[in-house]
Structure formats: C-alpha cells, structure tokens
C-alpha cells in the first residue's frame, strides 16, 4: 500500500469559509433581521450569533445575508472591494449563485459605500410595470454609527430616524435621491457593518 503523502499547509485543500451552523433556522433568523431592517428603515438590527467568521473582506453580517438570500436564481455583482477568490468560492459553494459580469444584470450587489456611490446608476431599477425587478444593494461600511449624520423619513418610520453610517456622503444621498425620485422604480439598499445591518428601501427620503 502506497503511503499517503502528508499534506503540507501549502498543499492543503483550500476550504470555503463555513456557512450557517443550522442552515434552516439560521437562514430564517437572518431573514427576519432583514425583514425588520426593510420594514423599519434606519433602525440597527443586531446580527450577532448568525455567523462569526466570513471570507476575506466580507463582514460576517454581509456573509450571513448572502447565505440567506442568494441562490441560483439571483445573479450577484461583486464590487472590487469584495471580489476575492475566497468570496467567490464561498458564494459558489454555499449559494450557487451566478456572478454577474455587469452591474445591470445583477439581482443583488455586494459592494462598499464608495463603490455604491460611484456605480449606482449602473444597476437595474426595475420598470414601472415591474418595479420589483430592481437590484438590492448590500453595502458594506466600516461602521453604522459615528459617520455623517442624516435624518430619514418615509414608510416604516414614525416621525424621522437618525442614520450615521460611515461613507454615506452628500453625493451618495444626492445620487440615490435622483434615482428613487422616479418611484416606483428605484434601488433598495441594506447597509452593513461587522455585525449589524440597517435597511434603506427606495421609499425612504432624506430630511437633512
């Protein structure tokens, strides 16, 4: 019998980053967080306990959203900030989602706030007959607190709601406002830091 060569660290198979410990229940819990985020825009949803590690530049909270929402029906566009072999391996192994070559083909995008600001117009905003076909942007930021302060209002918000996500510049709000002015078409966004998310559906407008 041939002795099996002991693998060195360099030759060890590169395993994808792990998914949910309990795929069915964790996906449901994660979905309820996203549902709460979209229902109550701007309110921070705690994502701790869903996923503790994530591949490369993905926040654990972002990786959890990918696991809960992506599958073979959802082309996903990756911003340069998150487009690494580890992330692609993670998505392909756990979600089986196609990676979109162009932003306009994507149902979801994972990207940084800077990339979202620069590329916003490139995503599909739906059509007046089918506004639900618009892309959903999962926007990674360094923190959802301590950034530039803004007040938002709209459905799901009694009165107004403060939002302080890092990287949401006046330019971001201006470009987003121009796209969503053509409601019902528009872009829905989920802001993400390491272990929290906040929803920014297209109906939300900035007060100041």
């Amino acid at each position: 019998m041939m002795p099996f060569p002991s693998p060195t660290a360099a030759l060890a198979p590169h395993l994808p980053s792990p998914g949910f410990a309990d795929p069915v229940r964790d996906a449901q819990r994660c979905f309820r967080k996203v549902l709460a985020a979209i229902s109550y825009p701007g309110r921070l949803q705690d994502m701790r306990g869903l996923l503790s590690i994530a591949p490369g530049p993905l926040h654990p909270a972002a990786a959890a959203l990918c696991l809960a929402l992506f599958d073979l029906d959802t082309p996903v566009w990756l911003g340069r900030s998150v487009d690494t072999p580890d992330v692609r391996q993670f998505l392909s192994f756990h979600c089986g989602c196609p990676v979109a070559a162009q932003p306009g083909e994507a149902a979801f995008a994972v990207l940084s706030a800077e990339e979202a600001t620069a590329l916003m117009e490139a995503f599909h905003v739906g059509t007046p007959e089918y506004p639900d076909r618009a892309a959903t942007l999962l926007i990674q930021t360094s923190a959802l607190a301590g950034g530039p302060a803004a007040e938002i209002a709209g459905p799901g918000i009694p009165g107004s709601q403060a939002i302080e996500a890092a990287g949401l510049t006046p330019e971001f709000w201006a470009r987003r406002g121009a796209i969503n002015a053509l409601f019902p078409t528009g872009l829905d966004m989920i802001l993400i830091d390491a272990q929290r998310i906040a929803g920014l559906p297209r109906t939300v407008r900035i007060e100041r």
Binding site: F31, Y40, L69, E129, P155, D188
Partner: protein, 294 residues
C-alpha cells in the same frame, strides 16, 4: 409534536428564499403586487394557500402563531392552518392576540391594536383591486404603473349615482403611501382605519393569483372616498349581546326559527377577554358560570 419527513414549516429552502425575496420587495414598494412562484399547498385554493406560504417563509421556531378566520380562532380554516404549523414547524400557538408574534388572518384585523413585535399575514383571494373593472392583467399592470386609477373612482361614483352611497362594505379599496391602490383583502371596511399607520408589518399572500404585497409599519393607508361622500365604517345600534362591546365588529347570529337574532363580536378573543374582565351583554350568562359549565 413535529411531523417527520418535512422541512421546517413544510416548504423547501429554495422556495422559502424565493418567497422571502418577494416579501422584501413587497415591503420596499408599499401596495405593489409582487408576482411569485406560488407552490401547490396541501389545501385547496381559497383556503389560504397564499397566506400559508407567506407564513411558512416568515415563521421561526421561537414564533407564537395565532390564526383567525372571520375573527374566530375556532373555525375550520383557522384550526386546520394552526395545526398545519404545529405539525410542520412545531411552533407554539395561541388564541390571544397580544401573545402572538405572527397572526395569519382570513378577513379580519383583530380588535386589539397590534404592536411592532407582531406581523399580520392576510389571506387574499383576489389581489387586484382593478380586476372587476379590467379583466386583462397586462392592462391593470399598466394602470398601476401610470397611476391611472380613474376607473376605480368611477366604480365608487356609480354606487352613489345608483344607490345614494358607496355600498361596498368589504375589500374596500385603499391607497397606500399615496401611490398604489390596493385591495385590503375581504376585511370589512370597519377594519380599514386600523391599517393606517399600524405599528405592525402587514403582509398579503394570494396563492391562486400568485401575488405577494405588503404595507410597511407606520404607512399611510387611506380608504378611497369623495369630499361630499366621505368614507364611513359600519355602525350598530346595540353592542355585543355577550360582552356589551360597542367598539367591535359584530356578526349577526340567527338563534331560533322565529326570527330571533343576536349580534356578537366577530373577534372571539376580544369578546372572551371582555367577558373575563366582567363586561356583560344583555344575553350573556356570567362568565364564571359559562367557564364552570365547560
């Protein structure tokens, strides 16, 4: 007791993800009907196949489920859907409105105000409010896209012209967030004002028509009317015969073959709570006595 051999809450994960994505878009576009790939469910169309799919996609192990049919927890439809989720998801169920985190309803909104900690799932037979005026989906879709809603106002005006008032008493059309006209499902118009700025999320599932739509929390829901014919809800001359409530929706019950009738709360939990608290109507036995007789 969970049934073995099924995934949690019956639907497979791929289906749940598809429904969940539709729900998220529905909440993001208040009142817009999102098409979804509705599945065959183990109950016939018209029995809540849409609501049950929405509930299955949303429900978790720590949810407490309440199911009502016309306000009652103990009718066939409510009992069978409640047992379905007991078996396939093993969740706790309740008949108490305040104790529920998830409420699936057929044709009523509970009398007790709902909170942010609750989600209300409606079963919807016909999701398209314009369908009675325009049969073609391709046309109604354009009408929604263009906010071309004149035909709905004509429909309500015709009631006034023929009968002197708007006689539509259930599934009364509403405008959500100032944009989409939406069918609130066949709830009595008595319940329409409860939808406006409700703290709870409201989800609507239509299984036969394969549509999901939503009203986010704290969203304006306005019943359509005219300046000279403002929207009004039903009123009754007397209160509930059992609990005396004058602020709840009442059902008429025939009690003999001599034309005898009684009016009772349609929301059974609300009525029971009031009787337990000592409120009595003209035809009720003291609550302690009826409980002892059980």
């Amino acid at each position: 007791m969970s049934e073995t051999g099924y995934n949690f809450a019956y639907l497979d994960e791929q289906t749940k993800r598809m429904i969940r994505r539709a729900i998220l878009k529905a909440v993001a576009i208040p009142g817009y009907q999102v098409p979804f790939a509705g599945r065959e469910m183990p109950l016939p169309y018209g029995w809540g196949t849409g609501g049950i799919q929405v509930t299955a996609a949303v429900i978790g192990a720590d949810d407490t489920l309440k199911v009502i049919d016309q306000g009652a927890d103990d009718t066939t439809n409510a009992v069978s859907i409640r047992r379905f989720f007991q078996k396939t998801a093993g969740v706790d169920t309740t008949t108490e409105t305040a104790a529920a985190s998830l409420i699936q309803t057929r044709h009523r909104i509970p009398e007790e105000p709902l909170t942010e900690a609750q989600i209300l799932v409606y079963q919807v037979p016909i999701p398209e409010p314009l369908r009675w005026m325009e049969a073609r989906e391709s046309e109604t879709r354009k009408m929604h896209a263009l906010t071309e809603y004149g035909v709905m106002h004509v429909r309500l005006y015709e009631d006034i012209a023929h009968l002197g008032r708007i006689v539509k008493s259930y599934d009364y059309p509403v405008r959500v967030n100032g944009r989409y006209i939406m069918a609130p499902s066949p709830i009595p118009k008595f319940d329409n004002p409860k939808m406006d700025h409700m703290p709870a999320l409201q989800l609507f599932g239509a299984g036969r028509e394969k549509r999901i739509y939503a009203v986010p929390p704290y969203t304006s829901v306005v019943s359509l009317d005219f300046e000279d014919h403002p929207f009004e809800v039903q009123t009754w001359s007397d209160g509930c015969a059992l609990c005396g409530a004058t602020d709840s929706y009442l059902d008429e019950v025939v009690i003999d073959d001599k034309g005898g009738r009684m009016m009772v709360c349609s929301d059974t939990d609300y009525c029971e709570k009031r009787r337990a608290a000592g409120h009595l109507g003209p035809m009720s036995a003291p609550y302690a006595e009826t409980e002892a007789a059980r």
